[in-house]
């Protein structure tokens, strides 16, 4: 903690900043420090491990390599670092005002990823993904987006490398969050409400139900079909996969530097979990420290919605990544690929599965998970906005809630823990969610795990 004096006032340092040259030069690959290798993804039809050839139709070779490599570090291309300079290194804040409000002896730090052009951590991976596709001679990328965070991040990145971008956006979000679509347009992306007439899978759904509001599972099918049926087009995913988590580790590496500059190391590291990438981003470098024995006691917590409690209530088993069962089977925590989570406002956390690496680390006890209801999470977001100023995304609010709870535990025990969380994105396009909160219209959905587990055990059973 640094205090300095100016004009007879004492100031406490609020932002911890790094120089541009301190943007990490390498991504950290936590697979290198796992005690045993990850279970391989399996082919959906043969149940044999998936090889690089199976993925070549939709991903560039370098990303496939990054998906499976066990090298501890992977160099970040200078062309990519050059783009990252636009917003990185991102600031690490000391939440003095929040601490004071909570009257906690704990120190709370948050890494602010909302400074990126698209407003969240997603650009950390959209940029390298676009770059490697450009290098591989790809001219267009197709993707899906639910709430629009990933779609706008990818539109931004493809623009930088002169690629075309087609984004299938779940129709209900397309109409409810028009400004995300506008952002994509500014960056030259083509945003299509899904289901669309452009793909066979979209046509099939529309034929059955022309008024359908769409779903993420359908949008994924459309984007994958688009990529698989056009030679110049690849597919990109904004979370879950190993290479996506890898690109996000830039967050945690910066955090470690920033904390070291004020002679700190976190006791608690927190991130919200949907597919797992922003959590992976802040957590993996510290999970590596934990597994290699450098800091055995760091407590790493993933926070998920009670309505979609994949890590806290799901089964650790092989399951499909999508609703239709077209993707490879991945070993992960899952609520079952046919479980479609309810429409909570934190749309980015609505995923039945989780990153296989995050799942593995939670399963092994390196990290743990907690779940919260929607309204308590918005209470926390309000507290945060009224102390620190930032209006966070509903997804991010989950991490805020957990950080506040951990700080309040310290208040009880008197411990002066150092708590750090990933403040993954702003909520400037989520004002309708805040409106619903203030109108008392938030529904606290939850997963009836007791009834389910009692009757049929933790689903699913595949293999």
């Amino acid at each position: 903690m640094y205090i300095f004096v100016q004009n007879n006032y004492w100031y406490m340092q609020t932002k911890i900043l790094l120089d541009e040259e301190q943007i990490p030069k390498r991504w950290y690959n936590v697979q290198a420090d796992l005690p045993s290798p990850l279970d391989p993804p399996l082919h959906p039809a043969t149940h044999k491990p998936v090889g690089p050839d199976d993925l070549k139709a939709i991903f560039p070779m370098e990303l496939i390599r990054q998906e499976v490599t066990t090298d501890r570090y992977i160099d970040i291309p200078e062309e990519v670092r050059d783009v990252l300079r636009l917003w990185r290194p991102s600031p690490l804040y000391r939440a003095h005002r929040l601490e004071k409000f909570l009257k906690t002896p704990a120190k709370i730090y948050y890494k602010w990823e909302g400074v990126s052009p698209a407003g969240s951590h997603k650009t950390n991976t959209s940029v390298p993904q676009a770059y490697y596709n450009m290098k591989a001679g790809i001219e267009r990328i197709a993707t899906e987006t639910g709430a629009g965070q990933w779609g706008s991040a990818l539109a931004f990145a493809t623009m930088l490398y002169d690629l075309e971008c087609t984004i299938y956006m779940v129709r209900s979000s397309y109409t409810q969050k028009p400004y995300r679509k506008s952002m994509m347009q500014v960056w030259g992306g083509e945003c299509i409400p899904s289901p669309s007439t452009k793909t066979k899978s979209g046509q099939a759904v529309l034929e059955k139900d022309p008024e359908t509001p769409g779903a993420l599972g359908i949008a994924i099918s459309e984007a994958v079909e688009d990529a698989a049926t056009h030679a110049n087009t690849n597919y990109a995913l904004g979370s879950v996969l190993n290479h996506v988590c890898l690109h996000q580790t830039i967050i945690g590496q910066e955090c470690r530097e920033q904390l070291a500059s004020v002679e700190e190391y976190p006791d608690v590291v927190i991130g919200c979990v949907g597919g797992g990438s922003n959590f992976a981003g802040i957590a993996f470098p510290f999970a590596g420290d934990k597994m290699t024995g450098k800091h055995k006691d760091v407590d790493i917590i993933g926070v998920e919605p009670a309505s979609c409690p994949t890590l806290t209530k799901g089964a650790y088993t092989y399951d499909f990544g999508d609703v239709a069962g077209l993707t490879p089977l991945m070993k992960m925590f899952t609520l079952g690929h046919d479980f479609v989570p309810p429409s909570i406002h934190a749309g980015g956390l609505r995923y039945h599965g989780d990153s296989p690496i995050v799942s593995r680390l939670v399963h092994d006890g390196v990290m743990r998970a907690v779940a919260y209801h929607q309204s308590e999470v918005f209470d926390a977001a309000q507290t945060f906005s009224r102390t620190e100023g930032i209006i966070v995304a509903p997804e991010t609010s989950h991490a805020v809630k957990c950080a506040i709870d951990e700080a309040l535990k310290c208040k009880k025990t008197g411990e002066e823990k150092t708590i750090m969380f990933n403040c993954s994105g702003h909520g400037n396009f989520d004002m309708s969610a805040y409106d619903a909160y203030y109108a008392g219209k938030l529904v606290d959905y939850e997963y009836p795990d007791e009834l389910i587990n009692e009757a049929i055990g933790r689903i699913p059973k595949i293999q």
């Binding site: 779903a215 529904v443 959905y445 939850e446 389910i452």
Partner: protein, 372 residues
């Protein structure tokens, strides 16, 4: 053109202002105590807001039962089809409902309380939608709009409105005569509800689709119902759907008992439930919130007594309800008759509201000494 039948119970609510538990049969006493009729005025607030509506015509009763309020609001498009006696009575309400039924109408809008709702329902059942402008002493039924303006909004938007189930509740006269004031479920009416974007389970539906959701709930319940366990299933259309999904026929307003997908008892009373549960090890109770206040126990399901609940255990009470219903009730109420048992339910409970989907709802115990 939508045809709306209007029934105003001119004396509704009078008893309440002077400490009576209802007005029916108490009008003179209420007047003696100084109560003034206000139902006409309440109805007027709704009618004033409907003046601009060209696509609505009213069928009305003469005098204080409708015509007076319509005329006072300056509405022209109405026709008097029933003339009550000098002193209006529940018989007039029923007779008017009968005339409306014969003439063919889209909705009966009434201004009154539970007694009025029950009288109308006894004639039209679920065939004609009912909407109440709240004006009574007792309003436990789910047929009421939250206030006169909300009633106007529903009538104005009737073309686009959907229908929902609404319980018709009223004081249980037998119990009342025996000295306790308690409510009973008399039927399940249909009430308009504004179509809005309602977030339901998987997706956002543009309109309430009650039947689809009830089937989703039923499908899930069937999936989790355990062999060998005894299921006591309370009243209501959501619970009815669960039993129907099993291929069985449910008593809509009563309590049925199911074991191994077979009906063990129909319309069971407390005695039958006590007998059936005596030697069972695994007992589960499935109930749905009843009425406007959202009672899960203590109203409409009184057969499920504290002893029965204790035999099952509060952890084995499974509450089911559609999201639309839950949207209208901020909290659930428990009034089993045994306050210490009520407290065992804690501060909140999980309510199954879709396939593998639940909501957490706060629970409020009936205030000590508070009556229904």
């Amino acid at each position: 053109m939508k045809r709306i039948g209007l029934i105003i119970n001119p004396v509704a609510g009078m008893g309440g202002s002077v400490g009576l538990k209802g007005t029916d049969g108490n009008v003179e006493e209420a007047e003696r105590r100084g109560a003034v009729p206000h139902a006409g005025e309440r109805a007027g607030q709704t009618l004033d807001l409907l003046k601009q509506q060209k696509e609505i015509c009213f069928l009305a009763c003469a005098g204080a039962m409708g015509e007076a309020a319509l005329a006072a609001s300056g509405l022209k498009n109405y026709r008097v089809v029933y003339t009550p006696g000098n002193e209006t009575s529940p018989a007039d309400t029923r007779a008017a409902a009968q005339v409306f039924r014969e003439q063919g109408i889209d909705l009966i809008m009434f201004c009154g309380g539970d007694g009025t709702a029950r009288d109308i329902f006894s004639v039209v059942g679920p065939d004609i939608p009912i909407l109440g402008i709240p004006a009574g002493v007792k309003m436990y039924s789910g047929v009421f709009a939250v206030n006169p303006a909300a009633a106007a909004e529903l009538v104005a938007g009737l073309n686009k409105a959907a229908l929902r189930d609404s319980e018709v509740m009223d004081v249980d006269e037998e119990a009342y005569r025996a000295g306790t004031l308690d409510t009973r479920l008399y039927g399940i009416a249909r009430t308009p509800v504004i179509r809005g974007m309602v977030a339901v389970s998987k997706q956002v539906y543009e309109q309430p689709d009650e039947e689809r959701i009830k089937l989703e709930i039923a499908q899930f319940m069937q999936e989790v119902m355990l062999p060998g366990a005894l299921y006591i299933i309370g009243a209501g259309t959501t619970t009815e759907t669960i039993v129907r999904y099993l291929g069985l026929k449910k008593t809509l307003l009563g309590v049925d008992v199911v074991k191994n997908h077979r009906l063990v008892a129909r319309d069971a009373d407390e005695k039958a439930l006590l007998r059936l549960t005596e030697k069972e090890r695994d007992i589960r109770i499935i109930v749905s919130p009843i009425g406007a206040q959202g009672f899960i126990l203590g109203r409409g399901n009184q057969q499920i007594s504290p002893v029965v609940i204790r035999r099952a255990g509060t952890g084995h009470v499974i509450v089911v309800a559609t999201p639309h219903k839950l949207q209208e009730i901020p909290e659930l109420l428990v009034d089993s008759g045994d306050p210490s048992l009520d407290r065992e339910f804690g501060e909140s409970i999980q309510v199954i509201c879709g396939y593998r989907l639940a909501q957490r709802k706060p629970i409020r115990q009936q205030e000590p000494g508070g009556s229904s």
